[in-house]
């Protein structure tokens, strides 16, 4: 069984490494294929992000890619709201949370779908203009 967990990690790591939200993939994998509880899947996803996140931040800091000024204004409201909403989330029944998560995922998917279509036509116009 453990090998499948490693594989699930690899898959979400690849998607995450490409900057497309590995977590949005790992959580449904854990609930659908491993039949794990929705809350446990979400907790695991949060925890799995920490070691990879630390490595990425160190690399980005070395390359001077971090905007600390923006970070400073974002982080305080973000931490407060994340703690609050984590508590609310844990008060919701697992089955209900799974459905809400599914809707959230589908909505994000539709937005990403529209954006990728728009980008496709923008790039097409650009290549035409450049005559490539």
């Amino acid at each position: 069984m453990w090998i499948f967990y490693v594989l699930a990690g690899v898959l979400s790591g690849i998607i995450g490494g490409m900057g497309m939200g590995g977590g949005t993939l790992l959580i449904p994998i854990l609930t659908i294929f491993f039949a794990l509880d929705q809350h446990l899947s979400q907790a695991l996803n949060l925890l799995v992000f920490i070691p990879t996140g630390i490595i990425s931040v160190i690399i980005h800091a070395k390359n001077k890619m971090l905007d600390f000024k923006s970070f400073f204004y974002i982080i305080i409201p973000a931490i407060v709201s994340s703690i609050l909403l984590s508590m609310i989330s844990n008060g919701v029944r697992s089955e209900t949370l799974k459905i809400i998560f599914g809707i959230f995922l589908a909505v994000l998917g539709v937005i990403l779908f529209i954006i990728s279509i728009i980008n496709h036509y923008k790039n097409k116009k650009l290549t035409k203009k450049l005559g490539v």
């Binding site: 453990w2 490494g17 490409m18 659908i32 907790a43 990879t52 970070f71 609310i88």
Partner: protein, 120 residues
């Protein structure tokens, strides 16, 4: 209202939104953090890097809350971590080779499908 104050308010609002989504869903904050930072004027590379910096303390804070509500299976965590670090390295290399446009198109359809599947 001057531009600087507007940007600070924007960052503050973005923080509330990112924290809320990531706390409630245990993920997905990064996917909205990057476009928000881009809208607020950061370059693409800086937006991605700063998003990870933002997600790190939020994820740690949320993890503590989730942990306090229920036990975490640490052996599953360990296997997922090993895979995720490996996948992250592969993903960083693949990114340079594949077309981002086609990938986000495929990924978006996958998300819609999986999302609907989770509702039933």
């Amino acid at each position: 209202m001057d531009n600087k104050l507007l940007k600070i308010l924007g960052l503050f609002g973005a923080g509330i939104l990112i924290g809320s989504v990531n706390g409630f869903f245990g993920g997905g904050g990064g996917m909205i953090c990057v476009p928000l930072l881009l809208t607020l004027g950061l370059s693409s590379k800086k937006a991605h890097a700063t998003a990870i910096l933002t997600m790190l303390p939020i994820s740690i804070a949320s993890s503590v809350v989730y942990y306090s509500y229920g036990a975490v299976d640490w052996s599953i965590f360990l296997f997922l971590c090993i895979g995720s670090v490996l996948g992250g390295i592969i993903g960083a290399f693949v990114l340079k080779k594949l077309s981002n446009e086609a990938l986000s198109f495929i990924f978006s359809i996958l998300m819609i499908g999986v999302g609907i599947r989770m509702c039933f």
